[in-house]
């Protein structure tokens, strides 16, 4: 793993209540990081890394129903899961068919490509992460979800399913190369585990976009407090004035 990580200090300006966390998927056991010493679901590991030191998770440390190993490409999920039976019987979906259809959308890493997953709070990170997950309030998220769009013009999109939130938080961004965000309170399993209060944004930025985000955040304005707007009349007046000036400039 890279020993001289990127400079993430630009994120300090957000004064996050919960630290951003870097995640890396590996086939080799990471050195100089301790192994996780408790039983946690993958979605809980984000919180664990926010509040503690860096750790890694090995092949025998997964405790959820087996879906985590499936999305990590470690093993196939049990028939009782992929048939949709669990989701259907538990009333998470109308029936097993709807739940089974959900599996067609779940992003997964290539089979056999991962044995270890490392988590580190950003202020202790010693590796180049495959993704960074930031836990943000609406004001912070307003800037962060635009941090790619700012230079590309591409829309920001959130993809998710009500279950297997971990697939959308950790896997989808890396597989697609796209920023994704998940709002706490929307994940059924995460709600059961009481991980975060509802309404927070879990914003995942994959390695493909981290340099873009860092560059853009250096230029973008951010106010720690969401100031009220000037109101409709004042806003329209200001924009009309700007447009008028622009039209004059173009005619010159």
């Amino acid at each position: 793993m890279q020993s001289t990580p990127r400079d993430y200090s630009i994120l300090d300006r957000f004064n996050f209540e919960r630290k951003p966390v870097g995640v890396k998927f590996m086939i080799e056991r990471p050195k100089d990081i301790k192994r996780i010493d408790k039983e946690l679901n993958m979605c809980e590991m984000l919180k664990e890394a926010q509040e503690n030191d860096a750790f890694y998770v090995g092949p025998d440390d997964w405790v959820c129903v087996g879906v985590e190993q499936m999305i990590l490409g470690m093993r196939d999920a049990a028939p009782v899961l992929v048939s949709g039976l669990l989701g259907g019987d538990e009333d998470l979906y109308k029936g097993a068919n709807a739940c089974r259809a959900m599996y067609q959308y779940l992003p997964t890493l290539p089979k056999g490509s991962v044995q270890y997953v490392a988590f580190a709070p950003i202020d202790q990170i010693s590796f180049d992460p495959d993704l960074i997950v930031m836990t943000a309030d609406i004001n912070q998220a307003h800037t962060l979800v635009c941090s790619i769009n700012y230079s590309t013009g591409k829309p920001f999109v959130s993809k998710a399913t009500p279950v297997v939130a971990c697939a959308w938080i950790y896997i989808y961004p890396v597989v697609s190369g796209e920023l994704n965000y998940f709002i706490t309170g929307l994940g059924t399993g995460m709600n059961q585990l009481n991980i975060f209060p509802p309404g927070l944004f879990l914003i995942s930025v994959p390695f493909q976009l981290i340099p873009t985000m860092m560059d853009n955040l250096k230029e973008m304005e951010y106010s720690p407090v969401m100031e009220p707007g000037p109101g409709g009349d004042a806003h329209r007046k200001r924009v009309n004035k700007v447009l008028e000036d622009m039209r004059k400039r173009i005619k010159e």
Binding site: I27, G112, S151, G153, F207, Q208, P211, T212, I250, E252
Partner: protein, 255 residues
């Protein structure tokens, strides 16, 4: 218009045909003169390779003004009637379909199309057009996916090469590549010698491309081993990598 990026890494390629930066503007550029002739859009980057920076307006665009959003397609064109006359398409129906997917800039969103060879460029361009040999293109394309693993995805059509060189990368944010000699009008106009790779990089990919070119090895030793040496080295290095991992070593089929 100002220039923030350092483009000097591209000098290392020693391109025979200079890279050209294109910028779309509603405002007349300061310090740049108007093109003194009328050209097809697909000829303009060729012109800029050997000229001073210039801007083109509607009067200078002899062909491709619809792709630039300066005019709408005339019915004769849009209906597909021209395709069979040019032997481009079997019938009007086949020709008509291209207008559903060929990208074009929004109507009236551009007044000044500014071109500059890279070595005289005073602005950060909206698109950077390279005319490259295969060896140079291999390096540029490898650099384009060096950090993100993205698939190369080149788009084109029989005609309207300008749409794929000038509009598609700008609108989609994707790098595009075509080969000189494939664009119908470009071939007819003898814009470039055949077989050169024309690569367009949109503004939001340029800084990443520069960073990757600075970081990566341009001519890896793997390219210098010869066929048998390459096969042997892949196996040797593969064995080293898989040692200690719970998987079989790389096997490489040899005759």
């Amino acid at each position: 218009m100002s220039k923030k990026l350092d483009y000097s890494i591209f000098e290392k390629f020693k391109f025979e045909h200079k890279p050209v930066g294109v910028k779309y503007s509603m405002k007349k550029p300061d310090g740049i003169e108007q093109l003194d002739k009328s050209l097809g859009i697909c000829e303009m980057f060729k012109e800029a390779q050997t000229s001073k920076p210039f801007y083109a307006t509607k009067e200078n665009v002899q062909c491709g003004e619809q792709v630039m959003g300066i005019e709408d397609y005339p019915p004769m064109m849009y209906s597909g009637q021209l395709g069979s006359m040019f032997s481009m398409f079997k019938n009007a129906g086949a020709n008509r379909r291209i207008y559903d997917y060929c990208p074009k800039l929004p109507r009236d969103s551009v007044k000044y199309i500014i071109h500059s060879p890279l070595d005289q460029m005073t602005y950060d361009p909206d698109i950077l057009i390279f005319t490259a040999s295969t060896t140079q293109a291999e390096i540029i394309l490898r650099a384009s996916s060096y950090t993100n693993g993205k698939m190369w995805n080149f788009k084109g059509s029989t005609c309207l090469a300008c749409a794929w060189i000038y509009a598609h990368p700008y609108l989609s944010g994707e790098l595009n590549c075509t080969v000189s000699g494939l664009g119908y009008s470009m071939k007819a106009r003898e814009v470039l010698p055949e077989g050169l790779l024309i690569i367009t990089v949109p503004f939001d990919l340029i800084s990443g491309l520069i960073e990757n070119l600075q970081d990566m090895e341009w001519e890896p030793y793997w390219f210098k081993l010869g066929r048998d040496g390459f096969v042997e080295e892949v196996k040797k290095r593969g064995d080293e990598l898989t040692e200690g991992l719970d998987e079989p070593s790389l096997t490489y089929h040899t005759e």
